[in-house]
């Protein structure tokens, strides 16, 4: 799956899709005078180019997921700035950040995060609907077809296996044709065989669509398939 990666890296040097500039994140634990400041991320700088596939690895508590959520604009850094598609997130409120994400950013989560009351098709339609696209259903059908779930359109998440649920999540992530896909431990809740198939699918779709992929993982094999690996230790990239 390394074909074409050279050209992608070349592109990346031209234009960054997501960029972190001196990003730190602190939280305070406890309250009042006993409050202690905990540093999760400490001055992280990174640049991820268009079409690039980047793995963020590190031990538990190293700040991987926090970095991912900051890059996606789901949270605000304590200091520093994030640029998504060239636009600084620091001046934007939550709604403006959501608007920036809509149709541009896709997600795949460890716990799938499917809406239990929505069918597979309805779950996959969500991003396109939120972006106001008129052909959300057609796109969703096509996306589910690509992940091999054309026969499961009207099933609810609880009627699907773990692997199938994650495939629905992947279909959802790609259905809006995002420029950027964030994946948080996409195989973490799956057995190795199923996980392997999910990884194949993720990279296959990435190859076809040319989407920039940022994934957080513990899995060394998965990280090795990426163009670049960022290793986090104690909130810093090492």
């Amino acid at each position: 799956m390394s074909e074409g990666s050279g050209s992608v890296i070349m592109e990346a040097s031209v234009r960054s899709v997501v960029e972190a500039r001196g990003v730190s994140k602190h939280i305070s634990s406890g309250s009042g005078s006993s409050a202690a400041r905990l540093t999760i991320l400490d001055g992280v700088d990174l640049r991820i180019g268009a079409g690039e596939r980047v793995a963020i690895v590190g031990s538990s508590g190293s700040g991987k997921t926090t970095l991912l959520s900051l890059l996606a604009g789901l949270d605000r850094p304590s200091s520093g700035d994030i640029l998504l598609d060239g636009q600084s997130l620091s001046g934007l409120d939550e709604d403006a950040r959501a608007a920036l994400r809509a149709g541009r950013v896709g997600f795949v989560f460890q716990s799938f995060q499917l809406l239990g009351g929505f069918t597979a098709l309805e779950n996959v339609m969500l991003p396109a609907e939120l972006a106001g696209l008129p052909d959300a259903a057609d796109r969703a059908r096509a996306a589910l077809d690509r992940v091999g779930l054309a026969a499961r359109l009207h099933h609810y998440p609880q009627q699907l296996s773990g692997g199938e649920q994650q495939r629905v999540a992947i279909a959802r992530a790609y259905s809006g044709e995002p420029q950027l896909l964030f994946a948080d431990e996409p195989t973490g809740n799956l057995d190795s065989e199923t996980g392997e198939r999910i990884v194949e699918l993720l990279f296959e779709l990435n190859r076809v669509s040319g989407t920039t992929l940022v994934l957080v993982t513990h899995d060394a094999a998965l990280a090795a398939r990426c163009d670049r690996v960022l290793r986090l230790r104690s909130g810093r990239i090492v």
Binding site: T65, L68, S69, A72, L74, D75, E94, D95, A98, A99, L100, R101, A102, G103, R104, V105, F107, F109, S111, F112, Q113, L115, G116, G117, F118, E122, L126, P127, E129, L130, A131, G132, L133, P157, Q158, G162, G176, D184
Partner: protein, 837 residues
């Protein structure tokens, strides 16, 4: 990619809302909220529809009490202009004239009250007329035909009439063709008790009884729609004319009606408050459940506005569906009720009107906006980061509580109308919540050390209560409020309604004898003894006119208030007694001591105080026969007129009036079973001057209203019970998700099914017991306050209530908790922990 345009955004929101709602039906997550809304609308609609029908029926029935929906009465013939204005309204009318006259039969004469009625009389209710004395009476909705007269039993007896006899009235003769056993519009006052002769209005002029100076009471009876009656009420009346409605014309019926209204209001309030609590609880839970989805939608780029609109639309859609279902159930409920009560009631209920349905809809909107929307909208504020970091913290609790309290006040204000009733209910509810919260906190503190000892299941159960401090306290409060309401309903339904029914005892006097001469008192007692009737007490009575207050001469013109003027114009019946019975409640001052016999002290009913603006120490001067007596008010009483025992506005003590006045007469009252009524004929034969008055019919009228309302109130309570059950269910469900996870976890860790089940039962039993005991205490206090402050009824605390509260509460909560969690224990832990609930 393009952002959705505004209208497209609303469409997207509507789509999401609908999908989410559809899921709610399937997974049951929204079911409790919907159920609470359905119950509230059904209760409000049934209560509203049926209450409205009952009110209208009761009004009609009390319309029977004056033979019309309303009447205009005057000492002067009503002016033609007024009659024309009345004729212009779509009302049924019948003119009735009443005057005193002497009737002749052979050699016998009798002073009677003649009533001349137009065709159509009575407009409401019916006369009961028999062919001969003590014969079978039939309902008649007309006056006698021209040339005939109907007379009451006393006329028949005193004139010794035989069926078909002729009587002379002025210059006309009438064939007496009926015995009036019951006359719907007959007053129960002692001034209106002359024997009755009823003739057709067209026969009156020929009698020549009406001439200049004759004292005739002219009355126009009116019946029709409330709106038209209101227009009639608004017409300007000539001086001296009065517009009367059932409640003002017949005070004893009026009192029963207003009491009835209070009971209905209590039932409505209870149902609605409970429904509100259930809505608030389940909406909070619904809001919690939305948080993960909101976070995900934000993650995928949804704006807070879109999410807010989605949540709002979802609630409105839910409200619409629940509203329609609830209205249908409410409509069916009131129809079933009408069938049930129809057997109890002798007049058909009027058809349901649309108004209560609209009111129920408005109420549901209030519930949605005041109780459901705030906690659900809180979900809108969830940060998208929640997709990674589950944060169970609640935000905006104070705001939600504030809105809920404001909505409760609004509901109470709107629904109760009666501010005092609303304040008592609100005060009781808030105080109960505070006490419940306090007790729950204490319990948690006590349980904390206990959870380290004992059986595993017990430790687990008690540990749950102690560990979930906030949730436990909230749950005890919610359970307690629901149990309180259920207990209170039981109390109100049984004890208070019984107390009310017993206000007219079965053996209340139904026969009054007046005009008893002093020399007849002893022979009369002997007559009773001979006939096996316990000798009833006799009251001396003298008539007097009020001529001065505090030494200042007064006439009717001294007072502005028309009611006082009318009241002053009458002669007062005064009595003198040693001491008062339990049908008199001393409000102020003191009763006289036996040794002060002869001191001109006066005890007055509080009505006198209100009319004359007098108080303790005021001096009233009355002209009694040929003397003037000044008496000082030393006590103010509240007479329970509905006891039907003889009572007097003005009472002095023995020795003041008895020997001085030549006009002293006695009266007595006793209970005579219906089958022994023939005794009356003998009595009147032996004491021909004594007048017997049968008030059985009036008592039955009041009893009928009471029975009707009791039945209705009991049905309305069934809805309140359903609402209470909803609150219980919502309270139990509020921690269900957490329990499900914990149960799965414990089973994964090797806890046996039985241990977990026992732990849950322990926890629920403790919560139920505590909530039940506090609720029992609160129910007792609230019932006491309601009885004393609102209903003015006696009430005794009942220990059974504590048993019922504590034991019943524990059982009910365990049963509901078990029902809610039964499947969890059978679900493989893997399924639960993997996220599929």
């Amino acid at each position: 990619m393009a952002r959705p345009a505004s209208s497209a955004g609303v469409m997207t929101a509507l789509r999401f809302a609908w999908r989410r709602l559809r899921r709610g039906w399937r997974s049951g997550e929204l079911l409790i909220l919907a159920l609470a809304l359905v119950v509230s609308v059904a209760a409000a609609a049934a209560v509203g529809l049926f209450g409205d029908r009952v009110r209208r029926a009761v009004q009609t029935q009390s319309g029977d009490a004056i033979g019309a929906d309303a009447l205009i009465s005057s000492r002067e013939a009503l002016p033609a202009a007024l009659l024309e204005q009345l004729a212009a309204l779509p009302l049924r009318r019948a003119a009735v004239s009443e005057l005193a006259s002497v009737v002749l039969s052979g050699e016998d004469t009798l002073l009677v009250s003649v009533k001349a009625a137009e065709s159509g009389y009575p407009l409401r209710g019916a006369l009961r007329v028999a062919d001969q004395p003590y014969g079978t009476a039939r309902e008649r909705r007309d006056r006698p035909p021209s040339g005939e007269a109907w007379a009451d039993l006393r006329v028949w007896q005193e004139l010794r009439l035989q069926p078909g006899a002729t009587i002379q009235l002025g210059q006309s003769s009438f064939r007496v063709s009926g015995v009036i056993e019951y006359e719907p519009d007959r007053g129960s006052g002692f001034t209106d008790l002359a024997p009755r002769v009823l003739i057709g209005a067209e026969d009156l002029p020929a009698t020549g009884l009406v001439s200049v100076g004759s004292r005739v009471q002219y009355t126009q009876l009116l019946a029709g729609e409330p709106g038209d009656l209101a227009k009639a009420e608004a017409l300007p009346l000539p001086q001296g004319a009065r517009y009367l409605k059932p409640d003002t014309a017949r005070p004893e019926v009026g009192r029963a009606l207003s009491r009835a209204g209070q009971f209905l209001d209590i039932a409505v309030l209870a149902a609605i408050l409970l429904a509100a609590a259930a809505v608030a609880l389940s909406a909070r839970q619904h809001g919690q459940a939305q948080r993960d989805e909101v976070a995900l939608l934000k993650c995928l780029g949804a704006s807070s506005r879109l999410i807010g609109i989605t949540l709002l639309l979802q609630l409105l859609l839910l409200g619409l569906i629940a509203g329609v279902v609830g209205a249908a159930i409410g409509y069916a409920g009131q129809a079933v009720l009408a069938l049930l009560i129809g057997q109890l009631v002798d007049t058909p209920l009027p058809p349901p009107s649309i108004q209560p349905l609209l009111t129920a809809g408005a109420l549901e909107l209030m519930l949605l906006l005041g109780f459901a929307l705030p906690p659900v909208l809180q979900a809108r504020k969830v940060a998208p980061i929640r997709v990674f970091q589950r944060d169970d913290g609640n935000t905006g609790g104070a705001l939600i509580a504030g809105v809920a309290v404001a909505a409760t006040v609004g509901l109470l204000w709107w629904q109760a109308g009666d501010a005092r009733l609303a304040l008592w209910v609100l005060g009781g509810t808030l105080a109960t919540c505070a006490v419940l919260a306090l007790f729950a906190l204490l319990l948690v503190a006590v349980l904390t050390p206990l959870r380290r000892a004992g059986h595993t299941a017990l430790r687990f159960g008690l540990g749950n209560v102690a560990r979930r401090r906030g949730a436990s306290v909230a749950q005890v409060v919610a359970l307690g409020v629901a149990l309180l309401a259920l207990l209170l309903l039981a109390v109100v339904q049984n004890d208070l309604l019984d107390a009310w029914k017993q206000r007219i005892p079965k053996d209340a006097p139904n026969q009054f004898l007046i005009n008893i001469q002093p020399a007849q008192v002893a022979p009369l007692q002997a007559f009773f003894a001979r006939n096996g009737i316990a000798a009833p007490p006799t009251w001396p009575m003298a008539r007097g006119r009020l001529i001065a207050v505090d030494g200042k001469a007064v006439t009717a013109e001294s007072f502005d208030d028309p009611e006082t003027r009318r009241w002053i114009n009458r002669e007062f019946n005064m009595s003198w007694i040693d001491r008062f019975g339990d049908d008199n409640e001393l409000i102020e001052g003191r009763y006289w001591a036996p040794e002060s016999k002869g001191v001109p002290e006066l005890s007055v009913d509080d009505y006198v105080v209100e009319r004359l603006k007098v108080g303790i120490g005021s001096k009233l001067t009355l002209a009694i026969a040929d003397r003037e007596v000044e008496m000082t008010i030393t006590s103010i009483r509240k007479v329970k007129w509905e006891s039907f025992k003889p009572n007097f506005f003005l009472v002095t003590q023995p020795g003041v009036l008895d020997d001085a006045s030549g006009t002293v007469q006695y009266l007595t009252a006793f209970h005579l079973p219906r089958e022994r009524r023939a005794v009356l004929r003998e009595l009147i034969g032996e004491f021909p001057n004594v007048t017997a008055i049968d008030i059985e019919a009036t008592m039955n009228q009041v009893r009928g209203i009471v029975d009707r309302i009791v039945g209705a109130v009991q049905f309305l309570f069934a809805f309140a019970l359903a609402a209470g059950a909803c609150v219980l269910l919502a309270a139990i469900e509020s921690t269900r998700a957490e329990r499900v996870r914990e149960t799965a976890l414990l089973r994964t860790l090797g806890a046996r099914r039985r241990t977990i089940a026992l732990g849950l039962v322990t926890e629920y039993a403790v919560l139920g017991l505590l909530a039940g005991l506090v609720a029992a205490a609160a129910a007792q206090i609230t019932a006491l306050v309601l009885a004393r402050q609102v209903f003015d009824l006696p009430y005794q605390a009942s220990p059974l209530l504590w048993l019922l509260g504590g034991g019943g509460g524990a059982l009910l909560v365990v049963a509901l908790g078990w029902w809610s969690l039964r499947r969890v224990l059978d679900t493989p832990p893997r399924v639960v922990l993997a996220g599929g609930r």
